[in-house]
């Protein structure tokens, strides 16, 4: 018997079509279908962390809403933790943690600890599990000082730490994060990221996250799924995407003396700043060592570094349809 690969999230040819009414003059309205998600097929293995990215309006949030049972797909099938989210919404809710970065699920006017104890009852978490989890998250997310503070008085970074604990108190198998670091300062962002890494390592919680901050993706996700216009346009590891699209590297050299832009076969100077010059070259044409040799032949080099393409630039190029 051949063993089928285990999946915890599975989408097969999933589509979601909304009908949008467009006003055409007085009283006359035209109804037009909009394909927010248009045939997405995707499967996620338990314990993995997947980045789900795409430009605004690409269909990310609509996909998350279908996976969590908020929206019913127009076509295709979805299985999450072995359940159909649109049918078994309530049962599935106990196995999911969902965090929308732009929306709070905490009780605004009450101390943070009250939100936790309410969720304890709403999710019917066994008392010992609840105590244990709360203890863990208090430590990992440094919540002790925040517990007696009304949520409305917390800073965004503090609140996000509270939100993370809140969605994890019931031991969800899968965590959906919709822009979890939006609006956070660099320190808070890093706190969220390292917490997620720790969580995934210790509990094997499956994480699917949408974000516009590709540092999140580089730091957290091995796999990257890019969608645009409701379709998956790329689904691969971050390393493979970099390798495939990031063919253009940059050699930065500090010459002994300022000079005219160098003229070297296989590379072109994109920037000059005093004695420092930036040379772009294609990985397939030339190695960095070979290029350095050619540069040194023209002018003495004092220092150098090689810049790999940033994932941000690659993704931007993919969104624009420029990368091939």
């Amino acid at each position: 018997m051949s063993e089928k690969r285990e999946t915890i999230v599975e989408l097969v040819d999933v589509g979601k079509t909304f009908t949008v009414a467009v006003r055409k003059g007085w009283l006359r309205r035209e109804r037009r279908p909009v394909h927010a998600v248009d045939g997405v097929t995707l499967s996620i293995e338990p314990g993995s962390m997947v980045g789900y990215i795409g430009p605004n309006g690409a269909g990310k949030s609509t996909t998350i809403k279908m996976l969590t049972g908020i929206l019913v797909p127009s076509s295709g099938t979805i299985r999450v933790a072995g359940l159909d989210p649109s049918r078994d919404r309530v049962t599935l809710a106990r196995r999911l943690g969902v965090l929308f970065g732009q929306r709070t699920q905490l009780w605004w006017d009450l101390p943070l600890e009250d939100s936790f104890s309410l969720l304890h009852h709403v999710y019917r978490v066994p008392d010992d599990r609840f105590k244990e989890n709360l203890g863990t998250f208090r430590e990992l997310l440094a919540l002790d000082e925040l517990l007696p503070v009304p949520v409305r008085q917390l800073s965004l970074g503090q609140r996000m730490r509270g939100e993370l604990a809140a969605v994890l108190l019931h031991d969800p198998a899968i965590l959906f994060l919709d822009e979890p670091t939006i609006g956070l300062d660099p320190v808070s962002k890093e706190a969220v990221r390292s917490f997620l890494v720790e969580l995934n390592a210790t509990r094997r919680t499956t994480v699917m996250l949408t974000t516009h901050d590709l540092v999140d993706v580089e730091r957290l996700c091995e796999r990257l799924v890019i969608i645009d216009h409701g379709r998956v346009i790329e689904d691969s590891t971050v390393a493979a995407i970099k390798h495939r699209y990031g063919t253009v590297r940059t050699l930065i050299v500090d010459l002994e003396q300022p000079s005219e832009p160098l003229c070297i076969e296989g590379a072109c100077v994109v920037r000059v700043d005093g004695p420092r010059q930036w040379l772009q070259f294609r990985r397939d044409d030339l190695t960095a060592a070979a290029l350095l040799e050619r540069v040194a032949a023209q002018a003495p080099v004092r220092d150098l570094s090689v810049e790999e393409p940033a994932i941000e630039d690659i993704v931007r190029a993919i969104y624009r349809g420029e990368a091939v």
Binding site: T19, I70, L71, V90, R103, Q105, L110, H121, V122, Y123
Partner: protein
């Protein structure tokens, strides 16, 4: 049972949150009590001009008003929160209810619970006590049982109307006025002997939006009054059944509305 536990917890949280703004809480409580007082004032004003209304004395109409008022007040306290569905849909926060392992209606009513609405029932309860002493009723066990049963049925009927009319919000937003004309409007009609209305309005409150069952029919039965359209006065005993049926309709409409929301996301 689980839903009841969740409901109690969420309501408790809401009350604690409201008590953070203590002054405004008590001001609202007082204003709600006073507003309810205006309704009986209108009835008293009418009776300064006439001695009877379609054969009903002032004490009898007061009883009618009190029974409808308590039922309405209870529905207002526990179910009228459903009106806020439209606000949650617009703000996108309705999604949060769908993410939690509990019914959406229970969560909405619990999260928006407003204890200050309790003020609405104080005044009709006082009127009920006074009116029961003033009217002339030959009490039977059935009639005694009918007092609490009517109030409960009334609460369920008004609550169901609230749920049904608020469900419209899932299709088109900003429909609060339409919804209110059925809930507050229905309550206003329920507080008068329906014999004073025209035929169509009578049919409407008897068979379409059955607010006649919240007070008029049971009170007519207690007082031994003839009932509109010459129907048997024992029709009043059907109040609990009508309430149960309407509650089932309300549940179906709400489910249909949520299903619509989940398929359109608007």
């Amino acid at each position: 049972m689980d839903e009841l536990v969740i409901y109690r917890r969420l309501v408790g949280a809401r009350i604690r949150a409201d008590l953070q703004y203590r002054a405004s809480f008590f001001l609202f409580l007082i204003s709600q009590t006073l507003v309810a007082g205006l309704d009986i004032a209108v009835i008293i004003v009418i009776f300064t001009q006439v001695d009877t209304l379609a054969g009903w004395s002032v004490a009898e109409v007061a009883l009618l008003y009190a029974m409808a008022g308590i039922g309405f007040g209870v529905a207002d306290l526990f179910v009228s929160e459903v009106e806020l569905a439209s606000r949650h849909i617009k703000a996108g926060t309705f999604d949060l209810f769908l993410l939690r392992p509990a019914g959406t209606l229970v969560q909405l009513c619990a999260m928006e619970f407003a204890p200050r609405r309790f003020g609405r029932t104080i005044q009709p309860v006082i009127v009920l006590v006074i009116a029961l002493r003033a009217v002339d009723i030959t009490w039977t066990p059935t009639k005694v049982a009918l007092v609490p049963l009517t109030v409960m049925s009334g609460a369920v009927i008004f609550g169901s109307i609230w749920v049904i009319t608020s469900s419209i919000a899932f299709w088109t937003v900003d429909t609060q006025e339409i919804a209110n004309s059925f809930t507050y409007g229905g309550y206003t009609l329920a507080a008068y002997p329906i014999d004073v209305f025209g035929t169509w309005l009578k049919r409407f409150v008897m068979f379409v939006v059955p607010v006649a069952f919240t007070s008029y029919l049971p009170v007519a039965y207690m007082l031994g009054k003839p009932v509109a359209f010459g129907l048997p006065s024992s029709l009043a005993l059907l109040s609990p059944a009508v309430a149960a049926a309407l509650a089932l309709v309300a549940r179906a409409v709400w489910r249909c509305a949520v299903r619509h929301y989940r398929s359109t996301g608007s």
